[in-house]
């Protein structure tokens, strides 16, 4: 009986919640050195940093589970940020934007295409999400139908849409976003329940339910584990691959909306440094690069771990260059641990 309980405890410890336990232990150990880490201000800051990243990383999880990779997520963030801002911004400074390729017909001094109308914010959100989904579609079709390697396809699309995001606004940030849009990123109820918290929670729950309780989720795991077996069992493998890339793009666009709203500007360089955090959080959450393995809940903890790590290192006043080294070593350790775990399981 106790043996069973022990085993159960062990399974939980090394299972889905492993990374959460590591995170908590990490915070507890650091607490005497930096008590500030659990101050209300710091926690709030920490959360608002982590929330958009969570939804983006969750999108990546889908792609990683089918044994793909999506490097274009950061460019989707930047591109949709710019596109959304173009549509809803309330005015443009002609000194800055008059050289833009879109000046005069799409954007004018008095704002973007839909600015001032009731439609401005909904239209912008729809366009932003559409950008993500369509870029995902482009990735997916190239990979599934034309058999191009995922790494190169998404790399090239990253280059392409990063460049487009910079080209369209001539690398200027787009200000004067409508208040109602900014509310999405900064608004809160009772000052604790922020809009991003609500949005991300809803999306993560949906993503979790989609992956773990629906037919589609089962198909995603099957394709990632053995695409040939999935095909023989009548699954439409190509369609599933395309869908996961579209989900990844959609999630990146959602993250972009939250960031854009919080920063109150359309930013052409948005997300350019977060690719490593996205993939790194997935890896330490136990998502396998060779496909078929990964859980949304672990990825959420993985992102928190990464964000807390960054936060604590800067609170410790450690020089920022150490952050990269520590991150690298932690991924290394996580993967080694995973290898050991898998070996144990095989026995």
């Amino acid at each position: 009986m106790t043996n069973n309980k022990l085993r159960y405890l062990k399974e939980q410890l090394f299972g889905d919640y492993f990374i959460l336990i590591v995170t908590i232990l990490y915070v507890v150990v650091l607490l005497p050195f930096i008590p500030r880490i659990i101050s209300a201000y710091n926690l709030k800051n920490l959360f608002s940093n982590a929330l958009p990243l969570i939804i983006i990383a969750v999108g990546q999880t889908y792609v990683l589970i089918i044994a793909g990779i999506d490097l274009s997520q950061t460019s989707i963030m930047a591109f949709s940020s710019v596109m959304g801002a173009f549509i809803m911004a309330e005015k443009f400074n002609p000194d800055i934007f008059s050289k833009c390729p879109l000046w005069g017909w799409f954007i004018t001094e008095s704002g973007g295409l839909f600015s001032g109308t009731m439609m401005a914010v909904p239209a912008a959100i729809i366009v932003m999400l559409l950008c993500g989904v369509l870029i995902g579609l482009l990735n997916g079709v190239s990979i599934a139908f034309f058999k191009m390697p995922a790494f190169i396809v998404t790399l090239v699309n990253m280059m392409l849409f990063t460049a487009l995001a910079i080209y369209l606004p001539n690398s200027e940030n787009i200000l004067y976003l409508p208040k109602s849009f900014v509310f999405l990123g900064k608004g809160s109820f009772y000052s604790i329940i922020t809009m991003p918290l609500i949005i991300v929670t809803v999306l993560v729950i949906l993503a979790h339910l989609l992956l773990s309780t629906t037919l589609f989720g089962r198909k995603v795991y099957s394709v990632g584990t053995n695409a040939e077996a999935a095909r023989v069992s009548g699954y439409k493998v190509k369609k599933i691959i395309i869908c996961t890339y579209m989900i990844s793009g959609f999630c990146a666009a959602c993250g972009s909306i939250l960031y854009t709203a919080r920063l109150e500007q359309g930013r052409p360089t948005l997300g350019s440094a977060s690719l490593l955090d996205i993939i790194g959080a997935n890896i330490i959450a136990g998502v396998s690069l060779s496909g078929g393995r990964g859980k949304i809940i672990s990825v959420v903890f993985g992102v928190f771990f990464f964000v807390i790590l960054n936060n604590s290192l800067s609170l410790l006043n450690l020089p920022f260059y150490l952050i990269d080294i520590v991150k690298g070593l932690i991924i290394l350790a996580a993967v080694l641990l995973d290898v050991i775990r898998m070996r144990k399981e095989q026995r």
Partner: protein, 504 residues
């Protein structure tokens, strides 16, 4: 030359070689005969150093010989020409031939390419093979590649050559060249072991015969003393053990599946047949006769050029396995590992692969875990699956027989009306085989039509209502149950006496 004494070998508790002992004389061509699974390849792999025997000893040239790897065999001047190709397709023929002994350029550590191509070309011309040494392997047709593989083996100077079905992808002309080469080797005092399913080749080429059946040596002797009929007799034996469930005739008149004139160039030609409700139709043939390819085409996994497939009189579209499944078809693949199972996911996940669709809600397609769990448990109980915990254990930790049960089990909850079953008993032990037969019988009894592909004639004869024999992509003959005759069926598969039917 080489002596084997009391060699035993088992895989996963299944003994495949029993006290195998024989001796081969130097300078002779020895033919190895036996049905699939008789143990020929295992013997070859032991001599070639790929496998190690569980017990028994080998002697080569009078000295004890205990190869631990293929390179040990090579060092002992034994060359093994595998049935599958071991060529690097992105390199030229010459590079493949000389990969570990490139000619040097002026003593530098560089390849003298001109010399390399010249030496190889000379060698290829010498052995009368029409291949350019500068050709890249991936541009060559399969037969020519096989010749490259053979040339590669001949370029190594060995004393014993092992040929494992070298002619499966060769044209008649290429085969003739190969035979000439083998005879030349013999004239130079080399010893050759030659495995083939083509009895006429064995008869033509070899001096001595070794015949195996079920891992036991049943006959040796001079090839001249054997007619092809006697060879077949020795190969298949006469006694049939009681390892099959009793046959039941459950066939009705209702046609479940109809295949009309199915053709795909290079694969199958003009295949037509019917499967009735409750009927078990066996497909027999040698490796490469196109049975697996046919089943894959019918199920929509691969495409075909001409013909049509009907389920319950309804025309099925090409290349749509999902439509086939919706219309009540199931495909049990021969390749459990790469096509059948999700090795790293739990057993219950595997068992729910097909059933998940019909057990999900209309909107959002949320699967009912409760119902699927119940189905998975029922299935695993009805199949008597030996697993500790189907929710935690993964198929990769199961025995071959239980893995096969999972592959079959994932289809059962949907109660398919037609099963395409490809080599369901390959690599599993006798007891598990019996269980698989029982499952198939039960399915037929419940009214499913079964297309049963197998290379083991005994099981086909025990279970089937009809046996269709295929060779080189064509149907050679159909045997009704009352016509079943081992020798006749094997003959048909070997095309003995059927030479006139369709040349490929």
């Amino acid at each position: 030359m080489i002596t084997l004494k009391n060699i035993n070998k088992s895989f996963y508790g299944v003994q495949v070689l029993f006290d195998m002992s024989f001796e081969l004389k130097e300078g002779s061509i020895v033919g190895f005969l036996g049905e699939n699974g008789a143990g020929k390849s295992t013997i070859m792999n032991i001599i070639g150093g790929v496998l190690q025997p569980d017990s028994g000893t080998l002697e080569f040239k009078g000295k004890p010989y205990e190869p631990e790897s293929p390179s040990d065999a090579i060092d002992n001047k034994i060359t093994f020409i595998h049935q599958e190709l071991n060529l690097l397709s992105n390199l030229t023929v010459a590079e493949n031939l000389m990969l570990d002994r490139f000619p040097k350029l002026l003593g530098l550590p560089l390849i003298n390419k001109r010399k390399m191509f010249r030496i190889c070309q000379q060698f290829l011309d010498e052995i009368n093979v029409d291949i350019k040494s500068t050709d890249v392997v991936e541009d060559l047709p399969p037969g020519t590649r096989q010749m490259v593989e053979i040339a590669k083996a001949l370029l190594t100077d060995a004393d014993l050559y092992l040929f494992d079905e070298p002619t499966t992808s060769l044209t008649a002309k290429e085969s003739a060249i190969l035979f000439k080469l083998i005879r030349k080797l013999k004239d130079n005092g080399k010893t050759i072991i030659y495995i083939s399913h083509i009895l006429s080749d064995i008869k033509k080429l070899t001096d001595e015969l070794v015949i195996l059946r079920d891992g036991k040596l049943v006959a040796t002797g001079k090839t001249a003393d054997y007619t092809t009929d006697r060879m077949v007799m020795e190969m298949v034996g006469s006694e049939m053990e009681n390892i099959f469930p009793p046959y039941k005739n459950t066939a009705t008149g209702k046609i479940k599946m109809r295949v009309d004139c199915l053709s795909q160039p290079g694969m199958v030609k003009n295949i037509s047949f019917k499967v009735r409700q409750g009927e078990v139709v066996g497909f027999f043939g040698l490796m490469g006769s196109g049975r697996t390819e046919l089943a894959r085409m019918i199920f929509g996994i691969d495409s075909y050029r001409e013909g049509a497939v009907y389920l319950n009189d309804e025309l099925m579209p090409k290349n749509k396995p999902d439509v086939m499944i919706n219309n009540g078809a199931a495909f049990i693949t021969e390749d459990r590992r790469s096509e059948g199972l999700l090795m790293n996911l739990s057993i219950d996940f595997n068992l729910s692969m097909i059933a998940a669709k019909s057990n999900s809600s209309r909107i959002f397609k949320r699967v009912s875990k409760r119902r699927l769990d119940k189905l998975a448990e029922e299935t695993s109980k009805s199949l008597r699956l030996k697993a500790n915990n189907i929710y935690k254990q993964k198929p990769k930790n199961l025995s071959g027989g239980n893995q096969q049960k999972v592959v079959i089990g994932k289809w059962l909850p949907e109660k398919p009306e037609i099963f395409l079953v490809d080599e369901p008993t390959r690599g599993i032990d006798v007891k598990a085989k019996y269980e698989v037969y029982t499952i198939l019988n039960q399915l037929a009894e419940n009214g499913s039509g079964i297309l049963f592909i197998s290379s083991e004639l005994e099981e086909l004869q025990a279970l089937c209502d009809r046996i269709i024999v295929m060779s080189r992509g064509e149907i050679i003959r159909e045997f009704q149950r009352e016509e079943f005759d081992t020798a006749e069926i094997v003959k048909a598969a070997f095309r003995e006496g059927y030479e006139t039917i369709g040349e490929v």
